[in-house]
């Protein structure tokens, strides 16, 4: 890619980042508070909450874009890391319910049903917020470190890695569904009441969480930008385009891959942590094979290999989903499946690629130089 083009794209992305960021951070919450309820400008509490959820998903998508779009490693297990983060925060929130629970017990409701008399040991760290916060960040990263170390070191790559992570998502889903893991089984964790003393049912708390999510997304974006722009980022792109050549140049690709995999897992954990208090429930259905794959489609729709594309894709697909499932509940799997096929076969650069093509007809090379597998037999 010529350097000028990179610089121009960068400045454009920066500009749009500030504009959109300000829009989401300041204008949207103001529209929630200021206009009268029946005004067309008004954004209801429900919508605001929904946007908060989409933006949490956008953080998850950023992580996947970092590892897939920039490093060419397709992880089909991001839902698992998301789930770890969400469950850690969910455990903290469950313990905050305290005596307000249905059975009036200090223990979460599902433990009362399943005849658990004492809090299991691994729940103790989640009694305070610091434990929940650190758990939501560190558990996914730690798990990613171990898993990634084993996978990348033995040079499991490309489609093999995708399949292994998919099996991971499948296995995690099975395990979280079990009652004896003491995580609420199929019903998951729900019925949360308060976070750090703020009532979760209060619109102002939800507003605060929304603003927090926007800030977290902005911070994640900056982090990813910084990583991508750094020397390591160049190596990542080089690995994506030709791993063997990077190896022959004296780098150890697996270390870079591991690093970026762990960062992506941390971002997924952060997304999960922000998701739970806003949605109010976390179940194993959120961490299975399909949710993990949906993340991939968000990124693909938005345009992989561009950070803004990941955010755009996550928000657009989820918004489309919330609208469409209202009107045609049975059609959504068709649309999702169709999106997979159409985007992959016809628009490999996604929305961002299309916008770029439309906005400047000059010959800018695709951001996506033939991806992994180009040497495949």
């Amino acid at each position: 890619m010529p350097e000028q083009a990179v610089a121009r794209q960068d400045s454009r992305e920066t500009l749009s980042f500030y504009v959109v960021g300000a829009l989401f951070l300041i204008v949207v919450p103001l529209l929630n508070v200021l206009p009268a309820e029946d005004s067309w400008l008004h954004i209801s509490d429900f919508r605001l909450n929904q946007f908060g959820k989409f933006l949490a998903f956008a953080i998850l998508a950023l992580g996947l874009d970092l590892i897939w779009g920039y490093c060419g490693v397709l992880s089909l297990g991001q839902g698992v890391f998301f789930g770890f983060g969400a469950y850690c925060m969910g455990m903290y929130l469950s313990l905050q319910i305290g005596k307000e629970s249905v059975y009036g017990s200090e223990l979460p409701d599902f433990m009362v049903w399943t005849q658990v008399k004492e809090l299991p040991l691994f729940w103790y760290p989640f009694k305070n917020f610091i434990g929940g916060f650190l758990g939501a960040m560190l558990v996914p990263m730690l798990f990613a470190t171990i898993f990634g170390f084993l996978a990348f070191r033995s040079r499991i790559k490309g489609v093999y890695f995708a399949i292994i992570t998919q099996a991971l998502a499948f296995a995690a889903w099975l395990v979280f569904n079990r009652n004896e893991t003491r995580l609420g089984g199929t019903n998951g964790l729900t019925d949360f009441k308060q976070l750090l003393g703020f009532r979760l049912s209060d619109p102002s708390t939800q507003r605060g969480l929304y603003i927090l999510t926007v800030l977290a997304l902005a911070a994640s974006y900056m982090l990813c930008r910084w990583i991508v722009a750094s020397r390591a980022g160049n190596v990542l792109i080089a690995i994506r385009d030709s791993e063997s050549r990077v190896t022959f140049s004296g780098y150890t690709p697996w270390k870079y891959k591991l690093f970026v995999f762990v960062v992506a897992a941390g971002l997924a954990g952060l997304a999960g942590m922000l998701y739970v208090p806003q949605v109010g429930i976390i179940t194993p259905a959120q961490i299975g094979v399909l949710p993990s794959l949906e993340v991939v489609i968000w990124v693909a729709v938005g345009g992989r290999g561009t950070l803004i594309g990941a955010i755009l894709g996550a928000v657009a697909v989820n918004y489309g989903r919330s609208v469409l499932t209202n009107y045609f509940p049975e059609a959504w799997p068709f649309i999702l499946g169709g999106l997979f096929v159409v985007v992959v076969t016809m628009f490999p650069d996604g929305l961002v690629g299309m916008i770029r093509k439309l906005s400047d007809r000059k010959k800018t090379p695709s951001p996506l130089i033939k991806a992994e597998g180009s040497t495949a037999a």
Binding site: V175, I297, F334, V341, T345, T375, A376, A377
Partner: protein, 525 residues
């Protein structure tokens, strides 16, 4: 009055006549009763006829004597008569007659044409506990050609002996049951062991307990063996399902570098094709023809799935050659669409009725029972492997497929139509998935999620086996299927899956390219 017109004489005559008639009737009835009483007193010439009357007696002693006689001398021809008596008798008599009917029926069934009937008759005779049954069972066992039925007869005879009053007989029976590895005798034997362990036990009881203990141990060690055998069998059965699925995946992956996530749904299409064929047979053919739907469904399933595969290749996959991860995503999208289409069109619960020949199973050893449908799947996967072997290594098409797999460009230069080879191979692999779906209808319901249950495991097989090697796929599916069933009883199905995943990851540490890696210049494919 209306009678006024009738002559008085006539009226008197009628009254007289009526009264005579009434007297006659009364005396006739009385005579009948006398006859009846006489018949119970005067013994009939035929003892069986006599006993048939005696069982209806109010006297319990007479009844039980008659019952004993009927059991000893009676045969199956009495059953309708006994049933008739039972239908109108009161409760005490019904209770008395029931064992007679059971015994006679089961005795007759011991010589039935159907081996299953013979076997269940032998098993049922244990419940009556009558010593007479022992000789019947022994006689029947001597003539029995089917070993499993013969086994049940001998076992039943010994189980009845166990209730004997004579402790010497009991001791023999206890030892015999041990030799027979009788699962059914286990609880009775354990009772003997407990009885012998009590403080007030007699010497005989102790001796019995000792013998029972050895028998129990023998039976236990045998049943451990039997469960190992059954686990192995279940493992092989799961492996062969995985194998049929993975073969198609592996061929396509090796040849075209396509990860076909919709493979499971092609299998689902095969299963639904079988279901539709069945419905067609129900709708259009006579019930006697019904079982023929299953063989007919085989080509239907193959062709339907192959046609879907061919269309899939022509419309989606051919744009994605060389882009492995993209094929994965696009085919995943296709699988979502197919699944939802099946859900919308067929609904959630549809099942296929197995043809007569595939119901039931074979008892190959004491405690080891192999269902026919599982055996069928194992045989089928063996045939598939052989078929694929011949197709790939002994046919013209096979040579082309292998050469394109090894070096696409060079093959094209040598005049092999690589596009056609791709298209045919993909359709063939899809048809293979259809066959897998056809076979799977025998072991489970047909539902839209059918493919999803196996797809993750099948991909693990492909990854573990290495790409483009038949032997790798076979060994990997045997390993993963076997391990799955081996771990299942210990830790449950869920943790079994987790262990398999961990196992595969650790295995890939040691062999990153799978069991049978491509070497040389193809290695970095």
């Amino acid at each position: 009055m209306s009678l006024a017109g009738i002559p008085r004489k006539l009226l008197v005559l009628v009254v007289l006549l009526l009264s005579v008639l009434g007297l006659c009737l009364q005396s006739a009835l009385a005579a009948d009763e006398a006859d009846h009483i006489a018949s119970t007193v005067v013994s009939s010439a035929d003892p069986i006829e006599q006993a048939l009357l005696d069982v209806k007696s109010e006297d319990a002693a007479v009844r039980s004597k008659a019952v004993a006689l009927l059991i000893e001398k009676g045969d199956a021809s009495l059953i309708p008569k006994l049933d008739a008596i039972r239908a109108e008798a009161d409760r005490a008599i019904r209770v008395a007659i029931k064992p007679v009917i059971d015994l006679l029926k089961n005795r007759a069934n011991l010589t039935s044409e159907q081996s299953d009937t013979r076997r269940s008759a032998a098993a049922d005779l244990v419940g009556t506990g009558r010593p007479e049954a022992i000789t019947w069972l022994e006689q029947a066992a001597a003539k029995e050609p089917v070993w499993w039925v013969k086994y049940t007869m001998e076992e039943s005879a010994q189980l009845i002996q166990l209730r004997s009053e004579d402790q010497a007989v009991q001791l023999v029976a206890v030892k015999k049951l041990g030799e027979l590895r009788s699962q059914n005798g286990l609880s009775a034997l354990k009772e003997f062991v407990e009885a012998g362990a009590q403080s007030g036990a007699t010497n005989e009881q102790r001796a019995l307990a000792e013998a029972a203990q050895t028998s129990v141990e023998r039976i236990d060690s045998w049943s451990r063996w039997a469960s190992v055998m059954e686990t192995l069998f279940r493992g092989v059965s799961l492996s062969s399902i995985l194998l049929i699925m993975s073969l198609g995946l592996a061929i396509v992956f090796g040849l075209m570098g396509v990860i076909n996530m919709a493979h499971g749904e092609l299998m689902m299409i095969g299963a639904y094709a079988t279901f539709v064929t069945q419905q067609a047979f129900i709708a259009w053919f006579s019930p006697e023809m019904f079982d023929w739907y299953f063989p007919v469904a085989l080509p239907v399933a193959f062709v339907t799935a192959a046609a879907f595969g061919w269309v899939l290749e022509a419309t989606v996959i051919r744009f994605l050659y060389g882009r492995l991860l993209e094929t994965l995503l696009a085919t995943w999208g296709v699988s979502l669409i197919l699944m939802q289409a099946a859900r919308v069109y067929f609904g959630d619960l549809t099942a296929v009725i197995a043809p007569q020949a595939l119901r039931g199973g074979a008892q190959v050893m004491v405690g080891v029972y192999l269902p026919y449908n599982r055996i069928f799947i194992i045989v089928l996967s063996t045939i598939c492997v052989l078929g694929i072997y011949f197709l790939l290594f002994r046919s013209n098409l096979g040579i082309r497929v292998r050469s394109v797999t090894q070096n696409r460009n060079m093959s094209a230069c040598l005049g092999i139509p690589t596009r056609k080879v791709d298209s045919y191979t993909f359709a063939f692999a899809s048809g293979l998935a259809g066959i897998a779906g056809w076979a799977l209808t025998m072991v489970g319901n047909v539902d839209p999620g059918l493919g999803q249950n196996y797809i993750v495991d099948s991909f693990m097989v492909v990854v573990t086996g290495g790409v483009g090697k038949l032997a790798g796929t076979i060994w990997a599916s045997l390993g993963i299927g076997g391990l799955n069933k081996l771990i299942e009883p210990v830790s449950g199905a869920v943790y079994g899956k987790v262990f398999i995943l961990v196992g595969v990851i650790l295995f890939l540490q040691w062999r990153p390219q799978g069991l049978f890696a491509a070497k040389g210049r193809n290695a970095d494919a």
